[in-house]
Symmetry: C2
Subunit: 347 residues, 2 copies
């Protein structure tokens, strides 16, 4: 049983620094492409056998120390009652939820009803992984989830989102209440189905000033995590909670109050600086620039060493990229990275 990742999440000593890669199950892997070639993206997410297959691929190919559920952060959005499509070029296209009438009709879904395929995938994965690597579940954090709903997809400057926040804070609050409840129940269901750690992705949290971040993104994450902790305690389950925010450098003091066990850090700040700004006693995950995977191996190795050294000031460290691996990445470089981290961090 490889429990190095879980140990590091709990701040326990490990023989080496565990590593997994955000978006490790993805388009850069020919094995993934092969499965994906047979079905469209949403069908892949909704077919437990296939979703489990691509979840396990990187564990076998890369030798990473954790598997992360293959799914999409918009699955719970569709379950709330929003029409969702994926276009090859444009990405996700949703019916925008900007008006009271639309938001009023959204539901807080029962995960084992509307998202049963996710829990089935997790149950299947726990069998198939059989201790090879722990399984991470995940959800978009409430704010990042909301941006897709309000914008109707991805966005450049999040004009509609911020306009709603700044001009109709009550409406935004009512949307966020529903999303927060959805995310909380969704994560509980994932854990009940067998997820051994969970990560909240707040990819777009970095578009805020520190005080707006606290008020309009973090406060809802705090609610999710507090609710989860209460439930975990009642159920007597121990599951680390990871909170990842994109572009965190100016927000780390705020982020440190989230109640998470582990903080995902992007590459725009040095890891020792991040640890200091988090209060000095944090467990961190990160933070190699995903495009550093295009470096020649000797120069990639320098960076790995640098990150491992800077991480020594943390209470625990899980190696990862600062954002998802990009589709153009040569898989052999990702394999080399995992090996490097294992080799160079050996204690």
């Amino acid at each position: 049983m490889n429990d190095t990742f879980l140990k590091a999440c709990r701040g326990e000593k490990t023989d080496y620094t565990p590593i997994w890669i955000m978006r490790q199950a993805g388009r850069y892997l020919p094995d993934y492409q092969k499965v994906r070639g047979k079905v469209d993206f949403l069908t892949l997410c909704k077919t437990p056998e296939l979703a489990a297959e691509v979840t396990i691929q990187p564990v076998d190919i890369l030798k990473v120390d954790a598997a992360i559920l293959f799914s999409d952060i918009l699955i719970p959005v569709e379950a709330m009652g929003v029409h969702l499509e994926f276009h090859e070029k444009k990405g996700p296209v949703l019916t925008p939820a900007r008006d009271e009438n639309v938001i009023k009709k959204l539901s807080v879904p029962d995960p084992e009803d509307k998202m049963k395929f996710v829990m089935d995938t997790i149950r299947l994965l726990r069998k198939e992984l059989a201790g090879k690597a722990p399984l991470i579940g995940f959800s978009g954090a409430p704010f990042t989830t909301a941006t897709y709903m309000i914008e109707g997809g991805t966005s450049k400057n999040f004009l509609n989102t911020k306009r709603m926040i700044f001009q109709s804070p009550e409406l935004y609050g009512s949307l966020m209440d529903k999303i927060t409840a959805t995310v909380t129940e969704y994560l509980k269901a994932q854990i009940a189905a067998g997820a051994q750690a969970v990560q909240l992705f707040d990819t777009w949290g970095g578009i805020f000033s520190p005080s707006d971040f606290r008020e309009y993104a973090l406060s809802y994450v705090i609610r999710v995590i507090a609710d989860l902790r209460k439930w975990l305690k009642a159920e007597n389950i121990s599951v680390p909670i990871i909170y990842f925010v994109g572009e965190t450098a100016g927000l780390l003091e705020e982020i440190s109050t989230s109640g998470a066990d582990v903080y995902g850090i992007d590459w725009r700040i040095n890891l020792d600086d991040a640890v200091k700004r988090l209060g000095g006693n944090a467990i961190v995950q990160g933070n190699l620039d995903p495009l550093a995977l295009f470096l020649p191996q000797n120069r990639m190795e320098q960076r790995v060493k640098d990150i491992l050294e800077r991480a020594s000031s943390a209470r625990g460290h899980i190696f990862n990229l600062g954002h998802g691996v990009v589709p153009e990445t040569p898989p052999e470089n990702v394999i080399a990275l995992v090996d490097m981290v294992h080799r160079l961090s050996k204690r």
Copy 2:
């Protein structure tokens, strides 16, 4: 003569905090739209009478304390020999400069030859502004300029740029040498024509880790500024140099070594924190979230007060947004902001 802006740039006491707005001459202003309706974007940039007209508009309408030359950061790129077009939807489209053959052919243009229209605009503006407000010239910083050249336009993750940097550092260096020389000569020409301050825009500098930022973006800015300082001294001219980087929070310690007089700060970090990270004795420009212009006035006023208070730890402060004003912004809110800053900062 309104010299409040220039005084603040020099760290001198002012009666109130000066303000100007990035992209203040732009699409949110009906007066701009009227001029722009007559000609395409590049023609507007290249016709001194029209470029001067839209440069002055915000001084008259908003009562800002500085005018900034209306132009585009890709003007020197075209002058270097790159084919440039602007598409209404896609924005700028350039012939990508990724190969040695293409980069070898690029020239370092004589600004008074290939970009004479810019200097003509500046000369005209100094007459027409007649002391109403000082005139800021500008250029893209070398790295941000390079991204457009390498990507052939805007980009999401700057894959081509980082791939060149990480895999062909010498090729990148040879491109950057030419851009750095071009930017330096361009700014000298603007100052010689009458620009009373200059701003270097490193909008995309925030895509780097701190050490990559230093090596691949900042080192070239340091060269531009050192060259400019030597020339300014020889010419016996005093012109403040402003350095703006997008998403600065993790990079401020690096940025503080640029040699600039004033640092443009985005809204993702509190201004007092930014001042501290810059070394405590900095002059700063910023840092309201551009989308805060959608707030009701009483809540916008709270933010203005907060920024003015946090700025009190700086050696000097010029109020600005943390990025350009967006086209959807109601002009009356921008007018209100300028009035608020003047009123609330009155000493």
